[in-house]
């Protein structure tokens, strides 16, 4: 009896093992999958990148292109940036150099011969690349001269930016933490600055105000607006060591003496 039970059990286990081994050959193989681990959707890639894409696959063998026969469960990954093919990958990490702006990165599993799987297996992620830092609030300040300063005709204004990278104007708008500095002189446009070199001014005498404003690559103001205004007074002879400026008195003396000469000439003519 026990022998029969043992034989029955062994037979059952054997059938289970046999059926388990044979099952993959009978059932359809699980479909390959592809997912992007990093970057996360809409992630801001700071400092100009590069964009490192880490992806994961299942039920798919990654092989170097041209390394074997094509089958639907092995091959490589086609990499697209903004619908433009950029490269292939047979490892789980891709490093992409992308310019500033918003980009869509799409990965597609393909067979060794480059043809897409059926059904197509792909994954995509949108990222924002900026030359600036990926986080932080942009800041702007004027380090020289101080507010209300008296300056000469020629003067320079030094400023500092934080969490913001200055680039030449003309790029796409809406890129965080990068752009340029717009200079308004007496509330009128004066210049756009693409670097932190001091601003050189040559102004006529009198009060002036200089406004510096951070704007994005397309010239639009940031949100919230970042600007700083400096009030200065220009006086031509600032810094000149003139103990006594006799110019106005000399001018008055010239006028009086000139009148005296005219009077003397008149009297002389009258005397004749």
């Amino acid at each position: 009896m026990n022998a029969r039970i043992l034989a029955f059990l062994l037979g059952t286990v054997g059938m289970l093992i046999v059926s388990g081994i044979a099952a993959p050959n009978v059932r359809a193989a699980p479909a390959p999958t592809l997912s992007i681990v990093s970057p996360s959707p809409n992630e801001v890639i700071g400092n100009g990148g590069p964009v490192v894409v880490v992806f994961a696959v299942t039920n798919f063998n990654l092989t170097d292109p041209g390394s074997g026969t094509s089958s639907p469960d092995s091959g490589h990954v086609n990499v697209f940036a903004d619908d433009e093919w950029t490269s292939t990958a047979s490892v789980n990490t891709i490093v992409l150099a992308l310019p500033s702006g918003e980009h869509t990165i799409r990965l597609q599993l393909v067979m060794d011969n480059g043809s897409a799987l059926n059904p197509d297996v792909n994954a995509s992620v949108a990222v924002m690349v900026t030359q600036g830092p990926s986080g932080g609030t942009p800041g702007l300040s004027i380090s020289y001269p101080r507010e209300g300063a008296l300056v000469g005709t020629d003067s320079t204004i030094s400023f500092r930016v934080t969490n913001f990278v200055l680039v030449p104007p003309g790029g796409p708008g809406g890129v965080p933490n990068e752009g340029h500095v717009r200079v308004l002189l007496d509330r009128a446009y004066y210049a756009d600055l693409g670097d932190v070199a001091p601003l050189h001014l040559n102004l006529k005498d009198g009060p002036h105000n200089v406004t510096l404003q951070l704007v994005d690559d397309a010239g639009g103001p940031l949100n919230p607006d970042v600007r700083v205004t400096l009030h200065i007074t220009v006086q031509a002879l600032v810094g000149r060591a003139i103990p006594f400026d006799a110019t106005p008195f000399l001018a008055l003396a010239n006028l009086l003496i000139g009148l005296g000469i005219l009077a003397a000439i008149y009297r002389k003519l009258e005397a004749r």
């Binding site: 026990n2 022998a3 043992l6 999958t33 681990v37 700071g46 590069p50 490192v52 880490v54 992806f55 994961a56 696959v57 299942t58 798919f60 063998n61 990654l62 490892v91 789980n92 990490t93 600036g132 830092p133 800041g139 380090s143 020289y144 001269p145 300056v151 000469g152 005709t153 020629d154 003067s155 320079t156 030094s158 500092r160 930016v161 934080t162 969490n163 913001f164 990278v165 932190v196 070199a197 001091p198 050189h200 002879l237 600032v238 810094g239 000149r240 060591a241 003139i242 400026d245 006799a246 110019t247 000399l250 003396a253 010239n254 003496i257 005296g260 000469i261 003397a264 002389k268 005397a271």
Partner: protein
Amino acid sequence: MRPQKCATTPPARARRGSSMVAVVVLTSLLLASIVSSPASAAAPSLTIVSPTDGALIANGTRALVQFLASNFAFVQPGRVGQTGSPNEGHANVFLDAQAVRLLTDVEPFSLSLTSGPHTIRIQLVADNGTSLNPDVSASVHVVATQGPGAGVPRITILSPTRLESTGHGIYVSYRIENFTLVEPRGQPNAPNEGHVQLLVESHVVMEVIQSEPVLLVSLPEGDITIGARLVNNDNTPLNPDAISNVPIHVVASSAVSLPLVSNGGVTLLLAFILVVLVLRRRKVVGRPPNGRGGNS
């Protein structure tokens, strides 16, 4: 005894046989479990060989990371029919907690680093992406800089020279050693990189990132001192301070003094003409009406 031996019946033999089979199976399972037990297998280990902890990654270069893993087989995750087994999987690489690599081999790799301190961490994970138990990871702290890796930063003003007489606007040229100029934008400080502050009478008047001569304007007249200082990205002085000072003498330009001189000259000329006219008038008044001066 004999009758007992003879009393061994077929069912009894069957029971004894099945018992032996059970003992053999159990023993085999026990041995198998001992052999395949994770506790008996050497635990995976991971070591980062390069860069060393605290290393300085200089000149803006990429960090080349070399590591060693033992008792761990690197395989591509997600392969067809992959069942996973202990001591098998891949490695995740994190740069400041951001995933930057998925490694399926022990080949060295390089990372692009921004200026400042960073942490590079490598973690061994199972095929399904879960961390091992216990966790196996290694990390190093590095500092990246655009500047050189060695040498004391130094700045020297080349022009103007000491006690030179200059006008109100001058070009200041300087030489920088062991230091790289980078645009300050709020990034962390890093060794041997930063920018230049120009000082007039110890007051910062300009901050520049150029090695070309810089124009200073509206300098105050007289004996003054101009300076150039290397500073960190956050405008703090280096340690030790790297500064160069030069005393100069600023004199008024002719453009300033000329109006004063010309005005004074004109005044003198007009005064002279007036005096001449007045004297001639008096002389004319003092003469006789016929102009001969004698009796008529």
